[in-house]
Symmetry: C2
Subunit: 245 residues, 2 copies
Amino acid sequence: MAKAKFVLFGDSITQQSFLPAGGWGAALADRYARKADIILRGLSGYNSRWALFLLDRIFPTAALNPPVLVTVFFGANDAALPDRKSKAQHVPLSEYKENLQRIVSHLKGLSPSTRVVLITPPPIDVRGRQAYARYLRRATYGDSAEELPERTNEAAGEYAQACKAAAKEAEVPIIDLYSIFQQNPNWQELYLCDGLHLTAEGNTVVFEELVKILNSIGLAEENLPLDFPLYSDVDPLDPEKICRP
Amino acid sequence: MAKAKFVLFGDSITQQSFLPAGGWGAALADRYARKADIILRGLSGYNSRWALFLLDRIFPTAALNPPVLVTVFFGANDAALPDRKSKAQHVPLSEYKENLQRIVSHLKGLSPSTRVVLITPPPIDVRGRQAYARYLRRATYGDSAEELPERTNEAAGEYAQACKAAAKEAEVPIIDLYSIFQQNPNWQELYLCDGLHLTAEGNTVVFEELVKILNSIGLAEENLPLDFPLYSDVDPLDPEKICRP
């Protein structure tokens, strides 16, 4: 059962990547069916500091079947403002960058063939975020009082920059989701469902950008071996051949 | 990284279970995020005879982390008629039943906690199947000559019955997809996209029926442990606690 293993490591945007409406993780599992196992390690609400604590548990060194690919997608929670409601999730900018570097270094040490892809946090649509918070408060408390935003697009941008710098220094590819989303003038509604998490279209962008990178680092789907022969290649006179490696 | 493992073992209907439009495998991965890894072992075109050859490769005995759940979903290809175009995939009815029993017996032997769920082949809509074949021939050869159907609903029904008998004898739960789909008078268009494979609605039925069974055999999502604490339970004064088992 040892098959190439792709691990998706990140926060809620990773945890939700198998949502029915076209999640990027599910799309990857579909594309790489019979070629790689897609293992979900998304931890809603987590930041790079907590991720670091879990590295040895999730990615033990000297494991039998180390991952061929790990996507690292933290920052949306690190960038929560330190003086607002989500402050427990905040991680200072310089520590965030250092944490990413330590995560990448650990992952690269798993095996010479382990490839790492960083993903920046998405941009933040404060108005979408507030509308969602209002909706939640109304639904939960019958109350719609405004609160100060716990995230801003400017802060997310600084963390995206730090993520890019970490990728450059560690020489690993990166999906600059922060910039890519904002190239579309309707990014707020098109790619984000609540000002932070991704719509089906946002998921599609992550999937397509990831496929581009996989194609460029020797992990193109068409170049990976099938687990077993195509059914049309099974020899009807000696079908048992399929189980001989 | 040892987490409960659910393996989806079957033919193309399993292989395609992560398709973007609401695949049942993806829905399961979403529902059980942070609780179980959903491992895809769908082999398009395979029948129960070929599945049997692969058992030791896919499910070695004495593996370190045996699956907690295996879904076994073969029969659609076994039921291909022996005198038509797909005859290489055909498996006689009695052998099909015996193969299922041997598969279940092997899987139950993996560990005392490994649970097996059988799924019958879906019903066949011959008209939908022929329309699809016509479409393919036109697209590929510019030719729309009719061919005799390679599958019938009657044959699928016999294999579904054999699957039910195997489940009963082995005392494992079963999703009788063949009957469940046909309870809806529009099953042909509602649940099947080409007379055989599943639409989004068909995928939803498989997912919902599987969840019902999981709830009844001690694998309800809400009863499985989370991998790591919820972010809201992380102690800000001692976050490193999350990595201590």
